[in-house]
């Protein structure tokens, strides 16, 4: 039987179990008598074993079996001795490695070395492998090796009556019954597919059972709404399917969606269709009033649809904080510090694309906090919450805080700013300097945070997502890093500006304010036009010049968009501001993606394609020149 189609599901479910196990083990270390925790861990290991064996991943199944045995021992003794957690965590690491191997189409790594190490002395003896698996709800198929010797693989085909009500629910009930008759190897459609409302004409099941097909057939045929059943024994070779070899990149990415949401999509589609016919009819009869109200309705439906589509992409932040407790535990052990990690509000949901980009930065900030923030003992708090269309994430520690004088000294030494410039720079902006590429005040590179990802990468990752990052820090009290992120990336609000004959979009998150300046509020500093903004002197740069566009001479009053680049505010001079709107951003492909400072494009209502520019990148090289020029003065 072809098991390749189950590979993706195997990987995603196994990874979920592994993540869960990692978290539970850390919780168990703090509370070794937590019965429920031990039970859940046992079931996780059991599930992995069952799935891996069904897929033919022998070593993964063996190791999961080993962990399951260990945990079963603890279930019986009622607690987990301290040393055993390390063993279980180590086992989990090997298991993760095996799953990585499977994911990368590599042969499963050797596990004999791990299995050869005796379990911790103070741990109860692991149950002998021959012992049958204790009865737990058989959520996943048990491995074929546990099947009675005389059992065989049977192929069962079931057709439902054409008028069967709720066929998916019926099929799930049939599968439940089939599982009580033997070990379910696979079914098509799978339970997962049935749960998500897959359409199907019949059920095809592969079962390991010691029952006679002649007994099974009438049993299954008597189930309500079952129209036809065939049972046949299949050759034994299909019991151990060989792992298939599809490439990782080819695997389609999947998302779990609540069926209710899909129902809402269908409803919306229905309403959109109705709306379309109504508009068509109104237009044919030239009833313009009706047409107008039809458009209003259409606009509402589209907003609704947008909202629902975003829901599909939403994932709780937990999905990227799950492994942090384990990481903190290991780092604390390694550095000999006592570190508590507290996670708050991690059920906040965000666009999965944003979460994926945020995972590494979060790890880096936590590492930084352990390495440079906390001295002997302390706490790291990661807190997430929603504010309107933004998600705010705060990473705070109660460590030594950031050393402002060291940052200033380093900035001077590396020639970024002069002493005088730094003196007038607000503390907040000085702290931001640690995000400058290659900027690190730590004189030694540690194993913990010296791993290539610096704060500059964190900052650019956050900014690429349309977010911002702020520091606040107090000596001896700790450091807080606040990330402000949009909920979703595909649709953003943009400010439309005109420059020569071009219309361009600037993401609203990049705009501090827009100004209308009279000639007399523009000053000259060296050869640079500047103006005062919030008590600061900011350079004025002509967007036309930056982009190399011909532009009419400046009028009496000029329009300025205040943005930020390299941690400094900058005024961009444009010809005209022409409003805000929501835009669906399309990414650019080669060769347009080579344009520096252009982050995407969108289509306006009149069909024009406009570019969306990101001042941060557009001005990066230019500002450097400005900075060095003003230092010469």
């Amino acid at each position: 039987m072809d098991m390749s189609k189950y590979r993706g599901m195997f990987l995603s479910e196994t990874n979920e179990h592994l993540k869960n196990m990692g978290q539970l083990l850390i919780a168990l270390e703090k509370n070794p008598h937590d019965r429920e925790c031990i039970d859940t861990l046992f079931r996780d290991a059991h599930s992995i074993k069952g799935m891996a064996a069904s897929m033919g991943y022998v070593r993964t199944a063996d190791l999961a079996h080993h962990l399951e045995d260990l945990l079963d021992g603890f279930r019986q003794s009622g607690s987990v001795p301290g040393g055993a957690i390390d063993r279980l965590l180590a086992g989990l690491d090997v298991l993760e490695g095996l799953v990585e191997d499977i994911n990368a189409d590599l042969p499963e790594r050797d596990i004999t070395e791990f299995l050869a190490v005796a379990p911790p002395q103070n741990a109860p003896q692991a149950a002998p492998p021959e012992q049958p698996v204790p009865a737990v709800a058989p959520l996943t198929p048990a491995p074929s090796t546990d099947a009675p010797p005389e059992s065989a693989s049977m192929k069962i085909q079931i057709a439902l009556a054409a008028d069967a009500a709720a066929p998916a629910a019926r099929a799930l009930l049939i599968l439940r019954q089939v599982k009580s008759l033997g070990q379910l190897l696979s079914s098509s459609p799978s339970e997962e597919e049935l749960r998500s409302g897959a359409l199907f004409s019949g059920l095809s099941i592969q079962l390991i059972t010691d029952r006679d097909p002649a007994d099974l057939q009438p049993l299954l045929a008597s189930i309500t709404d079952v129209a036809k059943v065939t049972c046949e024994l299949s050759p034994a070779a299909t019991v151990h399917p060989a792992p298939q070899t599809s490439r990782k990149d080819d695997a389609p990415r999947t998302v779990r969606v609540r069926t209710r949401l899909l129902d809402q999509f269908i409803n919306l589609t229905g309403e959109l269709l109705t709306s379309r016919y109504m508009l068509q009819a109104a237009a044919d009869q030239e009833q313009w009033h009706e047409v107008r109200s039809g458009f209003d309705q259409l606009a509402r439906l589209i907003t609704d649809l947008h909202h629902h589509v975003l829901q599909v992409r939403m994932t709780p932040m937990e999905s990227i904080t799950g492994h942090l407790p384990r990481m903190v535990r290991d780092l604390a052990k390694k550095t000999g510090k006592q570190v508590e990690l507290r996670l708050e509000g991690v059920d906040v949901e965000m666009d999965r694309a944003i979460l994926e980009e945020l995972s590494d930065p979060l790890v880096h900030m936590v590492r930084n906090a352990i390495d440079h923030g906390i001295e002997k003992s302390g706490e790291i708090v990661i807190k997430a919450w929603r504010e309107k269309d933004l998600v705010l994430i705060e990473v705070a520690d109660n460590g030594v805080g950031m050393d402002i004088s060291a940052i200033r000294a380093k900035a001077v030494k590396s020639g970024l700013y002069s002493q005088t410039q730094l003196k007038s720079m607000p503390v907040r902006d000085v702290l931001q300097l640690v995000c400058h590429p290659g900027f690190s005040t730590a004189t030694r590179v540690t194993e913990t945070s010296g791993r290539g990802v610096g704060m500059d990468i964190v900052k650019s990752a956050v900014e690429n997502l349309g977010g911002t990052l702020e520091f606040s820090s107090r000596p001896k009290q700790g450091t807080r890093i606040l990330l402000k992120l949009p909920l979703s990336v595909a649709i953003i609000r943009i400010l439309l500006v005109e420059c020569g004959n071009e219309t361009l979009g600037i993401p609203i998150t990049r705009v501090f304010r827009t100004l209308e300046l009279e000639g007399n509020s523009i000053e000259l500093s060296g050869r640079q036009n500047v103006t005062r903004f919030d008590g600061e002197i900011i350079p004025l740069l002509s967007l036309s010049k930056v982009l190399g566009i011909d532009t009419p001479p400046l009028a009496d009053t000029i329009q300025v968009v205040v943005s930020e680049a390299r941690g400094r505010k900058v005024g961009l001079v444009v010809d005209r501001l022409s409003g805000q709107r929501e835009a669906f951003v399309k990414t650019l492909s080669f060769p347009l993606d080579l344009l520096v400072g252009v982050s995407g494009a969108t289509i306006l209502g009149d069909g024009r394609i406009i570019f969306i520019i990101d001042p941060q990148y557009l001005l990066a090289s230019r500002l450097k020149a400005v900075a060095s020029k003003s230092r010469e003065h």
Partner: protein, 123 residues
């Protein structure tokens, strides 16, 4: 001893119809409830052999009540009553632990067949 059945539905019409089917089939109707909250309470009191549970009900839906009863009494035999077009809810109910489901309009033989099968399997 006759099989003891509890009927949960907010519509009197449906309760009476199901009652008639059950009695005709030689089953004993030992209790009724008109919403999910009542259903959970009555279940604790009378511990019937089987429950028919409507899905859409006031105060607490049939699926919520199902979940609470199953949580407390994992062996409970609960059959969901659904209407056409509630497939997603029926799937959810089955996932939550419903033993089977019947679809309105009810067919006498089908209802009894399902009830008998469940009771036989659990005895």
């Amino acid at each position: 001893m006759a099989v003891r059945v509890m009927i949960v539905d907010d519509a009197l019409f449906m309760r009476n119809m199901l009652k008639e089917i059950m009695i005709k089939g030689g089953l004993e109707v030992v209790g009724e409830a008109t919403n999910g909250v009542e259903a959970v309470e009555r279940y604790r009191d009378i511990r019937p052999d089987l429950v028919t549970m409507d899905i859409v009900m006031p105060l607490k839906s049939g699926i919520e009540a199902l979940g609470e009863i199953i949580h407390e009494f994992p062996e409970a035999n609960i059959v969901m009553c659904s209407a056409l077009g509630q497939e997603a809810l029926v799937v959810e109910a089955v996932e939550t632990g419903a033993k089977d489901f019947i679809v309105k309009p009810f067919k006498e033989e089908q209802v009894l067949e399902i009830v008998r099968r469940i009771v036989t399997a659990s005895r």
